[in-house]
Every structure is written in C-alpha cells, then in structure tokens.
C-alpha cells in the first residue's frame, strides 16, 4: 500500500513547481499555468486525506469540487484580464506591466 506521506510529498513537490512557475515566468499566461498546478496539488491533498480518513465522510471531495469551481472562475477572469491588458498595452510580459511602480 502507498503510505499517506507519498501523496503529501508528491503534492508538496507539485506545489513548489507551480510556485516556481508563478514566481519566475515572464509570461502572464504561464503564471496562470503555475497557479493551476498549485491548485491541483491542493486537490490531491484533499482527495488523499479523504481516502486516508473516514471514507464515508465525503467532505474532502466536496471541497475538491469547490476548488474546481474556484479554479475555473479564476482562470476565466485571469485570462480575460490577460487579454484585456494585451489589447491595451500590447504585451503579456509581467515585468513590463509595472504601473504600480512609484
């Protein structure tokens, strides 16, 4: 049998990879890809805890479903913003969108 720690470590690695993507990629769309990876790692955690806890208590799966919904919402709004920014400034490079600068 696979121990719980394997799933947890798998999801931790997946999360860190996603985090690296978010922190390091220049392209806005790529940053969103990183976020998707991080969300998936969370879902893996939820499902694993469901499976390794009381199986009849379905809460873990319910939360995973809600994370799906949130992820879908996040992606749709995020990509809409990317497209909007691209139209206005003709770029999708995060470093070039520095209107918050002092």
């Amino acid at each position: 049998m696979v121990p719980l720690s394997w799933y947890l470590i798998f999801s931790a690695i997946l999360f860190s990879i996603g985090l690296f993507g978010v922190l390091s990629r220049r392209n806005l769309v790529a940053i969103l890809l990183g976020i998707e990876l991080m969300l998936n790692s969370v879902n893996v955690n939820l499902a694993a805890f469901w499976r390794y806890g009381t199986v009849t208590n379905i809460t873990g799966q319910v939360f995973a479903i809600i994370v799906f919904a949130v992820a879908a919402a996040e992606v749709s709004v995020g990509l809409a913003l990317v497209i909007s920014v691209y139209r206005k400034r003709n770029t999708v490079i995060a470093d070039e969108i520095d209107m918050l600068k002092f």
Partner: protein, 169 residues
C-alpha cells in the same frame, strides 16, 4: 514494493516531469500541452485514490475546458507563434530558491506529523462514493449552501470575464 506503489511512483514521476516542463519550456503552446499531461497525471492519482468522480471531473473540466482556454489565450496574445527572448525573469534564481524553501518547509511539516505513515483503510465495497458526493452536494443538511455559493461565484466570474475582455471598439 507492491504493485500499487509502483503504479503510484510511475504516475507521480510522470506528472512531476510534466509539471516541471510546464514551468520551464520556452514555447507557451508546449507549456499548455505539458499542463494537459500533468493534469492527466493528477487525474490518475485521483483514480488511484478511488475518487472516481474527481478523476472524471479533472478530465472534463481541467483538460477539456481550462486547458483549451489556455491554448486560446496563448494564441490570442501572440503576434507570431514564437516567443521572443527569455521565458524566465531576472529573479528566477531567487524564485527557485523560495520554491525550494517552501518545499523544504512543507516536507519538514509532513515529516513531523505523526499521521504521515498511516495507510489507507480498506475501501468498503458497498460504498458508492459518487452518489454519496451527489447527496452531500444537494442536501440541506450538508453542503448545498457552499455549492450554490460556488455556482453564483462561477456565474459572476464568467460575467466579469466577459465584461473585462469585451472589446469596446
């Protein structure tokens, strides 16, 4: 090493490689395809965990909808099909360090937790997880309110997305 563990390791390693490619590949279209591969891997993990509904939803929603959306976004935001210049910013080294630090922290936390060596209980054969999930989502005693709120959030997000991305010219 049992057959379960081998299957898990194979799927996990494949998933992680795909994920790593997602954040490192230069071509965004390739990154999107690598993402699909990684999401498939996660769907397989769900399947191993007996979360059959989640696995199906993962395929349908993530791969079928979100990934396609990404591909469209990539196509809409590129003047030509190839990206110019480096795909990582100047601080990517520091970002990698922070990601590693987060990983160390997480592993440290997991390592220090007593329940980490726990093994899965036997899956009750008569238990129907899908119908239990369905009942839980629409039962007033359980999660109907968060479920409905999530649906409202989704609608609002979609309306917002249309508004933001709408071309007024």
């Amino acid at each position: 090493m049992t057959i379960d563990q081998i299957i898990f390791l194979v799927v996990a390693v494949a998933t992680l490689i795909a994920a790593f490619r997602v954040v490192t590949t230069g071509n965004l279209i390739h990154a999107a395809f690598w993402l699909i591969a990684a999401l498939f891997g996660v769907a397989a993990i769900f399947a191993i965990l007996h979360a059959s509904f989640l696995a199906v939803v993962q395929v349908v929603v993530y791969i079928g909808a979100i990934s396609i959306l990404f591909i469209f976004a990539v196509m809409l935001t590129r003047k030509d099909m190839r990206d110019q210049g480096p795909q990582l910013n100047r601080n990517w080294g520091f970002g990698a360090f922070l990601a590693a630090l987060a990983l160390v922290g997480l592993v440290f936390l997991v390592h220090g937790w007593s329940g980490v060596t726990k093994t899965a209980p036997a899956f009750p054969s008569e238990f129907d997880a899908v119908s239990a999930l369905g009942n839980a989502l629409v039962s007033p005693d359980a999660y109907v309110l968060p479920f409905e709120v999530a649906s409202v959030l989704l609608v609002a997000a979609l309306v917002g997305a249309v508004y933001v991305a709408y071309n007024r010219k």
